[in-house]
């Protein structure tokens, strides 16, 4: 047939030429085959979103009093008390209100874990002016390393958490605001136990947001019996 091909004949012919050229190029050098594999792998990811950031799993919204499994912890947050002075070591400090988030804590790890390990598992949200025990603002709501207390005859700090024991705990922080909202959000993160990519040690890392607990707050004091008694 002479003359220009009809519209229906152009595409198959061009496709075939493209295919032949591609095959020749791939066969020309081993390194081209490598490039082809990489391009094919990238094309295969397109239906799954390609190089776009993977959407974060939506954390479970839970009510206060629910036990959340956020490895290596099982944490049940019940309520929070706040006030200028909460007894024990939480004495009055100028310009700050103490906040204690109360609940129970259990470690599911096989070894005793430092209290600082809890820091990267808990973030406090919706608490204006959130700060550590010394009034230093929290970094993105991250719980300070020295904020773990147990509620025993008096509040005493807990340096580490032994496996297999359930502790009554208070997570201590402060706020530079004069009042605390009726509810605060506490985000809990699960971690994975794996070998460090930098050195030959095992560590809990790869935080993944697991749950958001809504914790009711109440003002405590000015008279108190203990940190967890709320008196008028």
């Amino acid at each position: 047939m002479e003359g220009n091909p009809g519209p229906g004949e152009v595409r198959p012919s061009a496709l075939r030429r493209l295919l032949e050229a591609s095959v020749t190029w791939v066969l020309a050098r081993p390194r081209n085959a490598g490039y082809a594999v990489v391009v094919a792998a990238l094309l295969l990811t397109v239906p799954f979103g390609g190089l776009a950031a993977a959407p974060e799993d939506e954390p479970e919204a839970v009510t206060a009093g629910t036990t959340v499994r956020a490895a290596p912890w099982e944490l049940t947050l019940e309520r929070a008390v706040w006030g200028p002075e909460l007894g024990g070591d939480f004495l009055e400090q100028e310009g700050v209100q103490h906040v204690l988030v109360l609940g129970t804590l259990r470690s599911t790890a096989g070894t005793t874990l430092s209290a600082s390990e809890l820091g990267s598992s808990v973030r406090i949200r919706d608490l204006p002016g959130a700060a550590d025990a010394f009034g230093t603002p929290l970094e993105d709501g991250l719980l300070p390393w020295d904020s773990l207390w147990t509620l025993e005859p008096a509040t005493v700090s807990l340096r580490a958490v032994a496996p297999g024991l359930t502790y009554d705990v208070g997570l201590h922080l402060t706020t530079t605001e004069q009042t605390v909202p009726a509810e605060i959000q506490v985000e809990l993160y699960s971690k994975t136990y794996r070998e460090s990519s930098l050195e030959d040690t095992m560590l809990w890392t790869d935080e993944r947001r697991t749950a958001v607990v809504t914790v009711p707050t109440r003002r405590s004091g000015p008279v108190y019996l203990s940190s967890w008694e709320v008196l008028p």
Binding site: T24, L27, A28, R29, P30, A33, G110, T111, T112, E152, P153, A154, V156, S157, L158, R159, A160, V161, A162, P163, G164, L165, T166, Y167, D168
Partner: protein, 199 residues
């Protein structure tokens, strides 16, 4: 030979070489993973097993576990602690032999392999001590009642990383009955560090 056939032959040869190298690397990795690492064997702590009351000679210290008591609570000069489990107190006599040392590694391991270390301030009263000076002190750890039977105390001088350490391993001699005794026991009182007359 056509150009295409020549290209195919050259490609096949190089692909064969690449495949051989990849298979050799994979095989090497598999074999390497199966062979025990020499580092694991010589970095493993050297355990010196002893019973209570018998001195254990370690590289840098002599350690004696003088006695073990249990309770639900323990008292320091500043705080009273109550455990959701059981506090185990071990009285220790500790004598560095080479250099200034402290009891840097204090651990209880139970039959399930769980590891317990000090959780409370004041849970290790053994201070940094000069060589040749015996010091009497205590360590206090807390564990759940089901960890008591068969639990062993492991003591060393070089901190929490036990690689290359020598450790004194002492059977605590506790059983399920001790959990009952702990419930009614008075608060434990760790002994304040006391230097004994050198011997």
């Amino acid at each position: 030979m056509s150009v295409a056939a020549e290209l195919a032959t050259r490609w096949a040869g190089r692909a064969g070489t690449i495949a051989f190298v990849l298979v050799a690397l994979a095989l090497g990795r598999v074999v390497g993973d199966q062979v025990p690492s020499p580092i694991d064997s010589y970095a493993r702590p050297h355990e010196v097993v002893a019973s209570q009351g018998r001195p254990v000679q370690l590289r840098a210290a002599t350690i004696t576990v003088d006695g073990v008591t249990v309770s639900r609570s323990f008292q320091t000069s500043s705080s009273l602690y109550e455990s959701p489990g059981i506090f185990v107190l071990a009285d220790v006599t500790f004598t560095p032999t080479l250099e200034d040392s402290a009891l840097g590694h204090v651990e209880i391991v139970d039959r399930q392999g769980r590891s317990f270390t000090v959780t409370r301030t004041g849970g290790n009263t053994c201070p940094l001590t000069a060589p040749g000076l015996p010091t009497r002190c205590s360590v206090v750890l807390e564990l759940p009642p089901d960890a008591l039977p068969g639990a062993t105390l492991r003591l060393g001088t070089d901190g929490t990383d036990t690689a290359y350490q020598d450790l004194a391993v002492v059977d605590l001699g506790l059983d399920a009955q001790d959990a009952q005794l702990a419930a009614d026991a008075e608060p434990l009182e760790p002994r304040e560090p006391l230097l004994e007359e050198g011997g």
